[in-house]
C-alpha cells in the first residue's frame, strides 16, 4: 500500500530522494506484476521519448560561448526545432549548459544550480574552457573542467563552439537518453561508455565532488 504524502514527507525530500521514493513505492510494485509489460513496453518508452525531445537548458551565460548559445536560438539555426527551449529557472530545466571558464568562486554556485535542478538532469560542457580550463589551464582561479565537480554528459570542443556544433551536441544528448535502456552508447571513436550517467572525475583534494552548503540548514 502506498504511504500517504504526509507520512512519506514528500515535501521535505530532495529531488534524488524523491526519485528513490518513487522507485520504491511506485515503480517497484508496478514492475513486479502484470503491469510490468505495460510499464516496460509503453510507459517507459513514452517517458523516454518525452525526455529526449524536451531537453530544456538553463539560460546561464558564463562567458563568450554564451553569444553562440544565443545565436543558436535565432531564426537561422532555430534550436527550438528540437524542443530545446531556454528557461531561466533551474527548477524548470533538464540540462545545465555550461559555457565558459568556471572560476573557483563560481564553482559552488554551479554545483548548487545542479542540485536545484529536478531529476532527470544532464550537463553539457560547451567550449574548451568548460571542458578543461582552456587558455586558463594554468590559472590559479579556474577550475580544470566541469567534470571535476558535476557529472558531465556531453563535451563539445571548440573556441567558440559553432551553433551547428551545439545543435549536434543536443542531438547527441538525445541519442544518449534514447540509449538509457540499453545502458551503453558508442562514442565517436567507437568506444562504449555508460549512457545512464555522466562522466565525473574524482581528483580528491581541492576538487571535491561535494560542495559545502552555502547556507546552513
Amino acid at each position: 500500500m502506498m504511504p500517504s504524502g504526509e507520512q512519506a514527507n514528500i515535501i521535505g525530500l530532495r529531488s534524488r530522494e524523491f526519485v528513490a521514493w518513487i522507485d520504491k513505492n511506485l515503480q517497484k510494485p508496478l514492475k513486479t506484476g502484470p503491469g510490468k509489460m505495460i510499464m516496460d513496453g509503453l510507459v517507459d518508452k513514452f517517458i523516454n521519448w518525452a525526455k529526449r525531445n524536451s531537453t530544456w537548458p538553463l539560460h546561464l551565460g558564463i562567458m563568450c560561448c554564451a553569444i553562440e548559445m544565443a545565436a543558436t536560438s535565432d531564426p537561422r539555426y532555430d534550436i527550438e526545432r528540437f524542443g530545446v527551449i531556454y528557461r531561466s529557472s533551474p527548477r524548470q530545466v533538464d540540462v545545465l549548459l555550461l559555457n565558459g571558464p568556471i572560476s573557483l568562486k563560481l564553482r559552488p554556485v554551479v554545483r548548487r544550480l545542479y542540485e536545484q535542478m529536478a531529476e532527470p538532469k544532464w550537463v553539457i560542457a560547451m567550449g574548451e574552457c568548460t571542458i578543461c580550463g582552456g587558455p586558463y589551464y594554468d590559472s590559479y582561479s579556474v577550475v580544470k573542467g566541469s567534470y571535476t565537480f558535476v557529472p558531465t554528459d556531453i563535451f563539445i570542443p571548440g573556441c567558440p563552439v559553432r551553433p551547428e556544433a551545439l545543435i549536434d551536441g543536443f542531438l547527441k544528448l538525445s541519442a544518449k537518453i534514447k540509449a538509457e535502456r540499453r545502458g551503453w552508447i558508442k562514442t565517436k571513436k567507437g568506444r562504449l561508455v555508460d549512457a545512464t550517467k555522466g562522466q565525473l572525475a574524482e581528483f580528491g583534494g581541492d576538487y571535491t565532488y561535494e560542495v559545502k552548503a552555502v547556507r546552513p540548514h
Binding site: 578543461c132 567534470y147 571513436k189
Partner: protein, 293 residues
C-alpha cells in the same frame, strides 16, 4: 497657453477619413501573405524564402578559412615539434611511431641518426583543450598542418577528445608530397663556442640535418672539441637543438631571411636543399617508384 508655433490640434470641422485607410493596409497584408506562403512565394515578385537552415540535413557552407578538425600530412611533417612549442594551450603532444626503414614517411633527409632511424614523430592533439587559433599551421615550416571543415567533435567522454597521431593523419592519396622549408620563426641558433662540450646531441636531434660537426678551436686532452656548424639555408628555427643542449651553449637570435627569400626551399630525397622548382622532377621520380612497389 499655447505657443504660436504649434499648429491646430483638433481636426477641422467636417474632416473626412482619408481614402485608402481600409484597402491599402489590406492590400499590404495580402501581399505579405502571398510573399511568405510556401510555393506561392516563388511566383510572386519579392517573395521571401525561409531563413532557417535545417542543420542536420542541410549544412551551411563554411568559409574556406574555417578551422575545424586538425589534419596532418605525414609525408610533409618532419617531426620538428615547432607546433607544440608555439601552441598557446600546450595541447599538442608528439608520439613516436616505429616504422620500417622502407616507410614512405621516413624521409632520408629527416631521418634521425643511427639508433633513431626507424622512428617517426607525429603530432597528436587534445581537441578538448585546443583553442583553434591556427598557430600550429601558421608556423609549420613544411605546411604539413591543415584544418578540415569538420566541426562536430561533440563526444560523451573526456578521454575520447584526445586524438592520436593516426587519427589526425591525412589520407595518402590527398597528399602532394612536396615539402617546402620555410623558417617562419625568423630565428636561428647561435653557438657559444667556449661552453660547447661536443656531445653531438643537437646533430642527432636536428629534423632537417642542418648541423654538421666540425673541429672547434678549444682542446680537450690535446684534441679539438667538435662544435656544430649550422647550414642556415636548411635551418627552420625549430629550437630542437636549443632544447636538447645539456650545457645551454645555444641560443636563438633573429637573423633574417637567407638570400633575400628567393622562394620556397625544399629537401629532395638525397638530402640536398634546393629551390622547390629545381627539386620537383626528382620528387616525382621517387614517389612514383614507391607507389609501384
Amino acid at each position: 497657453m499655447k505657443s504660436k508655433r504649434s499648429g491646430p490640434t483638433d481636426p477641422p470641422v467636417g474632416h473626412k477619413r482619408p481614402r485608402g485607410t481600409f484597402w491599402r493596409p489590406l492590400k499590404a497584408t495580402m501581399r505579405q501573405l502571398l510573399q511568405t506562403t510556401p510555393g506561392i512565394n516563388k511566383i510572386v515578385p519579392g517573395g521571401r524564402v525561409p531563413v532557417t537552415r535545417l542543420y542536420p540535413y542541410e549544412k551551411i557552407e563554411l568559409p574556406a578559412s574555417f578551422r575545424g578538425q586538425h589534419v596532418i600530412d605525414w609525408y610533409k611533417c618532419i617531426g620538428c615539434e615547432l607546433c607544440a612549442k608555439v601552441c598557446p594551450n600546450e595541447c599538442i603532444y608528439f608520439e613516436s611511431l616505429e616504422v620500417t626503414d622502407k616507410s614512405p614517411y621516413l624521409h632520408p633527409s629527416r631521418a634521425m641518426m643511427d639508433e633513431n632511424k626507424e622512428v617517426v614523430r607525429r603530432p597528436a592533439v587534445d581537441v578538448g583543450h585546443c583553442l583553434f587559433c591556427g598557430n600550429c599551421s601558421e608556423y609549420c615550416p613544411t605546411d604539413a598542418w591543415m584544418f578540415s571543415q569538420e566541426f562536430e567533435h561533440a563526444d560523451y567522454s573526456r578521454e575520447d577528445l584526445f586524438y592520436h597521431a593516426e587519427e589526425l593523419k591525412k589520407p595518402d592519396a590527398e597528399s602532394d608530397k612536396k615539402i617546402v622549408l620555410i623558417n617562419r620563426m625568423g630565428e636561428h641558433p647561435i653557438l657559444e663556442v667556449d661552453v660547447c662540450i661536443g656531445c653531438r646531441k643537437c646533430e642527432r636531434e636536428c629534423p632537417t640535418r642542418c648541423i654538421d660537426m666540425v673541429d672547434g678551436p678549444n682542446l680537450r686532452k690535446g684534441k679539438p672539441i667538435v662544435i656544430p656548424e649550422f647550414d642556415y639555408n636548411k635551418c627552420i628555427g625549430c629550437q630542437q637543438c636549443v632544447d636538447v643542449c645539456p650545457v645551454d651553449c645555444l641560443h636563438m637570435e633573429e637573423v633574417g631571411w637567407p638570400d633575400g627569400m628567393k622562394g620556397f626551399y625544399n629537401i629532395n630525397f638525397e638530402g640536398e636543399v634546393k629551390l622547390l622548382e629545381e627539386n620537383e622532377a626528382s620528387i616525382k621520380a621517387v614517389t612514383s617508384g614507391r607507389r609501384a612497389q
